[in-house]
Symmetry: C2
Subunit: 197 residues, 2 copies
């Protein structure tokens, strides 16, 4: 039996979201058919509004105003430390840890020639301009470990003036993690990153 076209359209749209297969999408759609009309239009409107989602003119983070919360905080701008992250999610994770009080640069991805993401898409010129403007002394590259991530870090290091300290976030055994269950790449990274007590 074929599903009605209107249901098919929603199922197809929902299945494009990560973690949603066709079966989950159908279940969700059927729950939505029981909603009030205004609840559904609220959902639709929220999606429509996403199209006009703004970015901070300084760091590139998604935000409502011209400047994000971090960039409008003067004490953070004066800290002379800048953290380069891939996306809002990574930024949120760092903010949640509560141990970073500098400013961010949100690249919105990593270098990926196949997807057409080059230095321009990552706003690296803007990064360079801000390093000068805020007299940044230390840059922390909080970029996940992958071929593309490593390439991005290498490119940033090459672009920036030599007097800026460029560090990459530490890789190793996670807190609470057990050596027994970790992959060998993590363990060799952790051994490499050993430190004096």
């Amino acid at each position: 039996m074929e599903l009605p076209r209107k249901i098919q359209a929603v199922v197809k749209a929902l299945s494009r979201l990560p973690g949603v297969g066709e079966k989950t999408a159908l279940r969700q759609t059927l729950v939505m058919t029981r909603w009030h009309a205004n609840e559904i239009s609220e959902l639709a409107k929220a999606f429509e509004n996403l199209q006009t989602l703004g970015k901070c003119i300084e760091c590139g983070m998604y935000c409502d105003e011209k400047l994000c919360v971090v960039c409008s905080d003067e004490t953070r701008c004066e800290s002379e430390v800048l953290c380069v992250v891939e996306n809002l999610n990574d930024c949120l994770a760092i903010e949640k840890s509560g141990t970073f009080s500098g400013i961010y640069h949100v690249m919105g991805g990593v270098l990926n020639p196949l997807l057409g993401i080059g230095p321009n898409e990552l706003e690296l010129d803007q990064l360079l301009a801000r390093v000068k403007k805020y007299q940044i002394k230390e840059i922390i590259l909080a970029v996940n470990s992958s071929v593309e991530g490593d390439a991005t870090c290498a490119l940033i290091k090459e672009m920036l003036p030599e007097e800026t300290q460029i560090l990459r976030i530490g890789f190793g055994i996670p807190m609470g993690g057990s050596l027994e269950y970790l992959d060998s790449l993590t363990i060799s990274k952790a051994l490499e990153n050993r430190r004096h007590l």
Copy 2:
């Protein structure tokens, strides 16, 4: 750090779907921010269209035309067997099994005084009218086992003329299921429903 309002709105809307928590919703929203504008409006439009989703004037199943695929099939209408289901999902599951060739009545729920679902909401008058119209001899109540489901079945049995055979779908051990892992209610139901070989 607070999320932009536009993102918050989508996260809130998505978290209302079953199986989606705040964390999943945020992940999905951030993926959507990378979509093209027309992909997002397609999604929004699909949701908007759900508001005008039609129902089959005969059985109450969601469909595009006036009549659903089943009700517009004459041979099925002449089979004199009618299956009462709660919703489209249950109907799809039965159709998938490929062993039922009669017509359906989709109630859209079960009796639930707390949610204000009474006999009128389940279109039981329409069911009665169709039983007469199609000279239905056998009614299969494919309603899940719950207090509300049982009450609904009892009400339907009371409403229908005595000459109609009213049967409930069989409860017991599912195929491939193992006695060892099944709950005692299922096992007692299965013992009750024992059959001659």
